[in-house]
């Protein structure tokens, strides 16, 4: 295995050399870096051209100029020397600086979208595979093809129009007209009916219940003027928490495992206590504090699960930790919602919270909660756009993979042993269906950093993609090479990770040493 990895890494370095040479030549061919100066009528035009020619070393032919760049880039390989020199942009900013900033922005943008796409996509894929050829299956299939076929720049304009401008107008005067309530209720009923299992009676019940719940929810929200002054409050947190506890236990351990259920319910109770106890501390929250609290919650959950003991402690521990984590999420969400009016009323935001462009409101200052909300409102639309575009891949793959697994002999064996359907699906099928997806996920993470060029462009989000496109428009070689280095290295590394992970997860696959 080690020989294999080393050999792959050596090849990767050679590939990187070859590709960077090609990219450098393509960049040189792609335009004239002096174009804007030639067209300008500044009195010192000649000097400007002279200066830029020297800055970019334009008198050396491009095939040779590459080695000048390479010499600088090679310094990055020297450890601890801190003389990494990837050149500078035409404006004179060091590429390393701008790369770091752009990478930070891109990572915040794509992480949420990717994680959500993986979770939602895989769940949808599994559910549709279990309900093959049902209305739900056809519906989800059609929707995923549709999302897959949407050009992201077109979707982005629609999102800005209806998601941001429309929603902001609504927030300015939150009145839900009766017609909207009816439409939303019908839609929700339909979705619930699609998810309900085969018989018409159950579908009808699901439809009625779904529609009624949605209508009631909207009416209550309207009556209490929730949109101007949102929040969850202890009662909603308690009810949702209990529902989460039951849901998680149902999926991970089965409701017959009373110990796991009690452990999760204890976590809900503890969460509710924490809601009051931690609240004052949260006033001075930072990212690290939230993360530390999350870790603490998981530890407490594991402890509670362990203390419950019983035949299979692992299940109780897992269920309790997961419930605790989601309870914590509820509390954080509540806190954000409570901060909402202050954010909307902020003079910088001026009552139009959902942003259409940019990564943050310029000049906005405030607590962790205010800036957190600011990031959220800016990331919302691009995240939805990226999510919809990448959802299809995951749901189609996991569906295909799950279908294949469910037809395997060991699934029949598991059923024949008398295992419950939950155990068969979650323990025997689901885990095996995830193996091929691990490769897909690794590939996608590798492509992430360079993967959002169009989205960043449409939402004026200053990440890697925009860095690249802007440099390309100016024929500015160094930022392009910087972008290529980061994107290329990540792609190659995660390619390797995908292959190695596959052979770890599936012992039948052996890598050639």
């Amino acid at each position: 295995m080690v020989t294999y990895i080393v050999r792959r890494l050596v090849t990767a370095v050679l590939i990187l050399f070859g590709a960077s040479y090609v990219v450098y030549q393509l960049t040189a061919l792609s335009g004239d870096p002096l174009e804007d100066l030639r067209a300008s009528n500044a009195p010192n035009r000649e000097q400007l051209i002279q200066a830029r020619t020297e800055l970019l070393d334009l008198n050396t032919p491009a095939p040779l100029r590459y080695f000048g760049w390479l010499a600088g880039a090679a310094k990055c390989l020297v450890p601890f020397a801190a003389t990494c020199d990837l050149g500078a942009s035409i404006q004179g900013e060091a590429v390393t600086t701008s790369l770091v900033r752009a990478m930070g922005n891109t990572i915040t943008l794509v992480t949420t979208a990717t994680v959500l796409a993986i979770i939602i996509g895989i769940s949808l894929g599994i559910i549709t595979a279990l309900r093959q050829y049902s209305g739900l299956d056809y519906g989800v299939t059609f929707m995923s093809f549709l999302f897959f076929s949407l050009p992201i720049f077109w979707l982005a304009v629609l999102l800005k129009e209806f998601g941001a401008i429309g929603f902001n107008n609504f927030l300015a005067d939150p009145q839900i007209p009766a017609s909207t309530i009816v439409v939303v209720a019908l839609a929700s009923g339909l979705i619930w009916a699609l998810f309900a299992s085969a018989s018409w009676k159950r579908k009808a019940i699901a439809f009625v219940v779904g529609a009624a719940v949605a209508a009631a929810l909207l009416t209550v929200l309207e009556v209490v003027d929730w949109f101007t002054d949102p929040g969850l409050g202890p009662i909603v947190i308690l009810v949702t928490g209990v529902a989460i506890a039951f849901g998680i236990v149902l999926l991970t351990a089965g409701l017959r495992n009373r110990k796991a259920l009690y452990a999760s319910l204890i976590m809900v109770a503890l969460g509710l206590v924490a809601y009051y106890v931690v609240n004052p501390v949260l006033n001075a929250a930072t990212v690290w504090m939230i993360l530390a609290l999350a870790v603490l919650t998981v530890l407490v959950g594991i402890g509670v699960g362990y203390a419950m003991g019983g035949y299979d402690r692992g299940q109780s521990m897992r269920a309790a930790a997961l419930t605790g984590l989601l309870m914590g999420l509820l509390i954080v969400v509540d806190r954000f919602l409570v901060t909402w009016p202050a954010y909307v009323g902020n003079p910088r935001v001026r009552g139009r919270p959902i942003a259409t462009v940019g990564a943050e409101t310029p000049g906005l200052e405030g607590t962790f909660w205010i800036t957190g909300l600011d990031t959220f409102t800016h990331l919302l639309l691009p995240t939805i756009a990226l999510l919809l575009a990448s959802l299809a891949g995951y749901s189609r793959y996991s569906r295909a993979s799950m279908l294949e697994i469910m037809n395997m002999d060991f699934i029949r064996t598991a059923r024949a042993k008398g295992l419950s359907e939950r155990t068969v699906v979650m323990r025997h099928a689901f885990r095996n269906a995830l193996i091929p997806l691990a490769t897909l996920v690794a590939f996608d993470i590798g492509a992430l950093i360079g993967g959002a060029i169009i989205t960043e462009q449409v939402f004026a989000f200053s990440g890697m993609g925009q860095l690249f496109v802007q440099a390309l428009q100016r024929t500015d070689p160094d930022p392009i090479m910087g972008f290529f280095l980061v994107a290329g290295i990540l792609a190659l590394v995660f390619n390797l990770v995908a292959d190695v992970a596959y052979s770890f997860l599936d012992p039948r696959v052996r890598v050639k040493a």
């Binding site: 792609s30 299939t141 295909a400 190659l492």
Partner: protein, 342 residues
């Protein structure tokens, strides 16, 4: 780049509709692979509807505004300035009452139907060029490296790895500049297709290689070798027909990715450039007018979605048709494909 390589395109699916009653045990005459695939494909309602819609869009785009010097039947073309009628809103009211400007006029009076059709034509043209070129390159590279192995494989696959990590946007931008410098904008659309085709074949090459690697170890290839068949004969007569499913399906899905890529590139200004039009380009030119002239935004976008959706469903149908593991299929039913299911 949000566009994906064909390998990322949705996985295997089985959309042959409806549960099938067990077939009666009858002696059925043998069917060739081609017949089975054709019948399974024509059984797939979604794929057939998509195929029909796609052909309609194709004919509309190529006959209405004319192609390669042959005049079309539509009265305007995409460059003519016509005085604005009112605010230039669409005049189409039904499938057979199109009015003067069915899709309206843009802000300087050009007929938007002609522009959209011309854009769709360019996008389809680029898509087909990419499909043909990337398909051919991918198959040749994949087949050679998978069949001959050894040094051929090492060199070709490392070359593939290099091409994979070169950003497509960069390749397209380089092309745009060189075309304007050396060729002139007339051949722009064709060359864009050629250039994109030359960078997009990598995923297909890997898949074909994998397919060849496993097929060349099979007994029938050994038998052919012992019988004294030449390499050319083994590749073309024995292995390629067995890999044709993978090739066709993935080329189709590659084409759906290609049309999104082309429109996206034109949108950010590295693809088709004015004075020619592309669906992505006219959306980018008119997106600011969404509030005042929404039709300038809707029609080209809907055409992109329509074309891409059709290609995806056709590709999905082909995949099902080529998949021998398809559980819901038996030859007896395929024979009776024309009749309603009993």
């Amino acid at each position: 780049m949000s566009t994906q390589t064909p390998a990322d395109v949705p996985g295997q699916t089985e959309t042959v509709p409806g549960p099938v009653p067990p077939a009666p045990e009858i002696e059925a005459p043998g069917l060739s692979q081609g017949q089975i695939v054709r019948r399974k494909f024509f059984d797939n309602t979604a794929a057939i509807i998509s195929l029909v819609v796609f052909v309609v869009v194709f004919l509309l785009a190529f006959t209405s505004v004319g192609f390669a010097g042959i005049p079309g039947w539509w009265k305007y073309n995409h460059t003519e300035f016509v005085p604005l009628l009112g605010d230039g809103a669409p005049t189409v009211t039904g499938p057979f009452s199109w009015g003067e400007h069915p899709f309206g006029q843009d802000s300087i009076g050009r007929d938007y139907f002609a522009m959209t059709m011309r854009g769709a034509q360019n996008s389809l043209l680029i898509m087909f060029i990419i499909g043909a070129l990337a398909g051919l390159t991918g198959v040749v590279v994949g087949a050679c490296s998978g069949y001959f192995r050894g040094w051929t494989e090492a060199v070709l696959m490392r070359f593939t790895d290099i091409v994979i990590i070169i950003p497509v946007v960069l390749a397209a931008a380089t092309l745009g500049e060189s075309v304007n410098r050396f060729v002139g904008s007339g051949a722009q659309v064709w060359l864009l297709g050629v250039f994109l085709g030359l960078v997009l074949w990598t995923g297909l090459a890997r898949l074909v290689r994998g397919e060849f690697l496993s097929l060349r170890e099979r007994e029938f290839v050994d038998a052919a070798k012992i019988a004294g068949a030449s390499n050319t004969r083994i590749i073309f007569k024995h292995i390629l027909p067995n890999a044709v499913g993978v090739i066709i399906v993935n080329t189709t899905l590659l084409m759906s990715a290609a049309i999104l890529l082309e429109t996206a590139l034109s949108y950010i200004g590295f693809g088709v450039k004015a004075p020619d039009v592309s669906l992505g380009l006219i959306i980018s030119q008119n997106q600011e007018a969404f509030q005042t002239r929404p039709w300038l935004f809707w029609f080209p976008g809907l055409f992109i979605v329509l074309i891409c959706l059709c290609i995806n469903f056709i590709g999905d149908g082909l995949r099902d048709a080529f998949d021998p593991r398809q559980k819901k299929f038996n030859a007896g039913r395929a024979k009776d494909a024309g009749k309603p299911a009993a």
